[in-house]
Amino acid sequence: MNDKPTSPLALTVNGREVSAVVEPRTHLADFLREQQLLTGTNIGCEQGVCGACTVLVDGVPTRSCITWAVSCQGAEVRTIESFDEDETMAELRAAFTAEHALQCGYCTPGMLATARDIVTRLPQADEARIRLELSGNLCRCTGYVGLVRAIGRVLEARRQRNLVEA
C-alpha cells in the first residue's frame, strides 16, 4: 500500500496524547480500532445512522464512522474504554447492567456515550426527552425499555443527590 497520501495527526485519545499518520479518508472509527486497538467502539452501518460507533469528541457524541480522523486534529476523543474513573459512567454502567439494558451488546458502547451526554447535559430530562435524545441510537434486541429505564434511573439518582446536597 504505497503512494497513498497521508496526513499527520495529533490528538488526545482517552487522556493520552497521540501522534499518528493517517490517510485523509481514514475515519475515526477505523483509526481508533485499527491503529489505537480500541475495539470497544463497534461499527454497525458505516453511514452514521445506527449510532453504534458513537464516541465523545471534545465531550460531544460523535459518529466515529463518518468523522474523518484528520478532522480530530487537537481534539480530545473518549471511547468506552476510557471511563473507568468517571463517576457518571460508573453509574450508567451499573444501571445498564441492573436494568438489562443490553442483549447482544453491540450497540452498548454507543448507547453509553449518548447516555452520558444526556445525563450530564440534561439533568432535568424526563422520559420523553430521554427518548428523543436517544432516538439516534438503534438497538435491534431490547426494545429499548431497559435502556430508557437505566438512563432515567441515573438521572433520578443524581437529582436526588443534588437535592440532598442542596
Binding site: Q47, V49, L92, T97, L102, Q103, C104
Partner: protein
Amino acid sequence: MQPSEAVDLAIPADRAAVPAVQGAVGSGLAHESAVLHVTGGAAYIDDQPELRGTLHAAIGLASAAHARIRRIDLAAVRAAPGVVAVLDAASVPGLNDFGPVVHDDPIFASDEVQFHGQALFAVLAEDMRAARHAARLAEVDYEALPALLDVDQALAAGSRVLPDAQLRRGEPEAALAAAPHRLAGSVRHGGQDHFYLETHIAYAIPQEDGTTRVHSSSQHPGEVQLQVAHALGVDAKDVVVECRRMGGGFGGKESQPGQIAAIAAIGARLTGRPVKLRLDRDDDMVLTGKRHDFRIDWEAGFDDDGRLLAVRFMQATRAGYSADLTGAIADRAMFHADNAYYLEHVDILSHRCKTHTVSNTAFRGFGGPQGLFGIEEVIDAVARHLDLDPLAVRKRNYYGLGERDLTPYGQKVEDNVIAELTAELEADCDYAARRAALRAWNAASPVIKRGIALTPVKFGISFTATHLNQAGALLHVYTDGTVLLNHGGTEMGQGLFTKVAQVVAEELQIDVSHIRVTASDTSKVPNASATAASSGADLNGKAAQQAARKIKARLTEFAAARYGVREDQVVFRANRVHIGNAGNGNGTATGKPGAPLSLSFAELAKQAWMGRISLSATGYYRTPKIAYDRETLSGRPFYYYAYGVACSEVAIDTLTGESRVLRTDILHDVGRSLNPAIDLGQVEGGFIQGMGWLTSEELCWSADGRLTTHAPSTYKIPAVSDVPEIFNVRLWERGFNAEDSIFRSKAVGEPPFMLALSVWHAIKDAVAAAADYRVTPQLNAPATPEEILRSLTEARQRDVEPPAGATA
C-alpha cells in the same frame, strides 16, 4: 413507556427450603457479558487481535437480477493497489455451494446470475478499504434473461424452489358451500431485514496439515463447519468453527454465515494467510437473505356468531433464487395457519416460489408470523363483516379444553392456556371500556383516528425437522471447584449462556460466578443444531443439566464411599456438600467414617481428583414425544406450545398516514422462567421487532430487481421513539410448562414477535374508523404512511360505492 414489571417467580416448593446459590434458576441474573458490554471489553470477531499476515476480503456483487455472464474481466481488480488475490468459482477447491439443505446456493455465481447482488468473486487485499475499493472495479458483460421478481410473477410462471405442499382436514369445500356466510380475500406482508447490528463476519486461519480454524458469527457453527469443509474439499475433522458471541442474529445467521466463512476459508487455504471478511452494511443487506414475504389468499365460511366453519388458504411465499430453509419455513407457516383457533374443515396450500431475488432465510418466527398473519386477517374480516368485536370472534374460535383441540396436522393441543391469558389481559388492560371510549372519541375526531386490538399467539416449540431436536454439552470441574461449561448453543445476545450457566449452578449448587461458559466450538461439542426455533435453552439447558448430574453422581458416589455414608446422605447445597447427618452443615471434615461433615464443593472436587474420579462429562438431550411425517404433514411436530396475548392502541393521522402506538399491554407465558429479567427482554424486544416488520420496515426493489433499501438511511427499524408510549409487559405468574422442559420453563425467543399483530390490527381498526366502521380495510403490511393512506382512500371509496354483487 412505563417500566415493565419485574416478575420474581416463586421458587418451586421442592427448592424453597434450599439456600439459593448466586444465579440460581429463576433469578433475574444479569447477562453473563453485561460487564464486558458496558466496558467495551466484549470481543466480537472483528475485535480479536489480528494474526501476522492477515488479509481482508470484500465481495464483488452482480448487477443484474437474471443474466448469463458473457465475460467477466477482473484485470482492474487484480491490478488495484493492495490486492493480493482474487477468488471466483474456479478457485473453490471443493464444492461451489453453501446450501444448507438443497445444493442450489453457489458460493460464487459463474455462468448465470440469479439475483441482483449475487456474489461473483472476492478480493483479498492487505487492508479492508483496498479490498472493498477493488471489488467495485470488475467489468462484467451480462446477457439479460427474463427475471421473475415477485410472487405473482412466479405463480404465473409456475416457478418454484420446492414442490407445493397441502394440508387438508375434513370437507372444506362442502363446509364452505354450506356455511351461512362466506368471505374471501387476499392480503400480503413484506419481508424483513434482520439488521443485526454486527454484520456478517468470518475470520479464517489456516493451520497445520491442511486444517482450518474459522471464527464465524454464526448461530450454527456445526453447519458452517460442514459448509467450509465441502467448499475446501476436506473432511469435517479438518475444520473447527468457533463463535463466542454474535452482535445479534435473529435467524439471519443460521444458514447465511456459511458463504462468508467459506470465502474466508478458501482465501486462507489458497494464500496460506489468515483472511477476514466483514461485510459492509449495504453489502450485507443486498447479499444475504431476509424474512419470507407472503401473499395469502383466503376463503372462509362462518356462522352468525363468527365461528369459523371452513377455511381455505393459499400461501405463496417468495423464496428467492434458492431453497435455503424455505421448505421448513413454509411448513411452519402452514402449521401456524391456525394460530390459537380450531379449524375443523381446512385446506392450506403452500407455494414456495422461486424468484430472481436474494434467497430468503430464517427470521425469528420462521414462518410462524406469516401463518398467524393469514388467520388473524380472516378473523378480523369475519368480525367486521358481522359487526362484532374482533376479540369476541377470536375467543369464540379458540381451541377448546378437551374438545375442539386437534390441530389441522393432527397434534392435540394439551396445554392450552390462551383463554386464561386472554381473560386476564382483557380485564387488566380494561379492553372493553377502552374500546367503547375510543369509538366515541373517534366520532368526535375527524382527522386523527384511533384503533385497538387484542390478539393471541400460540406458537409450536421444536424444530419441525425432528432430528434437529438434540443437543450436547461438555462440562469440566477443575480441582479448585470451578467449572468450565460448553454446549452446542450460541450466544447472540438472547442470554442463552446466562440461562445454561444458571441451570448448572442450580444442579451443582455452586455460585454462577464459579462457572465459565466458553465459546461455541465444533471441536468441543460436535454436530450441534442451530441455535434457532427458540429452542436454545430447552435443548442445551437439558444437555448441560445432564452433564452436571453425571458429575454430581460421581462426586456423590465417591463421597459416600470415602466417608462411609449412604448416597442419599450426600447433599449439595449452596456451594457446600453435606455428608452424613450434617444437619446444619457446620460439621468439619474429620475424615472419620460416618461422621457428619461439610466440605466446600472445591474441597470435594479436589478429593475426588486425588481419588482418581473423572471430573469431566458430556451431556446429551433429545426432545421426547415428538414424531412427525413430512410427507403427510401430520403427527406431533411440537413438544409443547408457547402462548401470549397483547393489546395495542394506536392513532393514525388520516391526512398523512402516520401511525403511533399509544399503548401496549402484554401478558406472556414463559412457563416457570429460568430468568425473568432475560425473558422480559425477549418479550419486549421481540414485540418491537415484530412491530417494525408490520409498520416501518419496508424492503423496496427497483424494476430491474435491485434492492433500494440497503442501509438504515432507507430501511427503518424501530427507534426508541417508536416504542409504545405506555408499554406494560408482564410474564404470566401462573406459567408452568405442562411438559418436562428444563425446570418447566418455556421457549421465549420467537413467540413474542407475533404479539405485534395487535398493533397491525389496531391500525386496521383505526382505518376502519375513518369510514365509520362500515367497511373492512384492505391493508397490506408494512403499514407505512403510504400504505395507510392508500388503504384509507380505498376504504372511503368503497364506503361510498359498495361493490356490485356484495354478498351477505
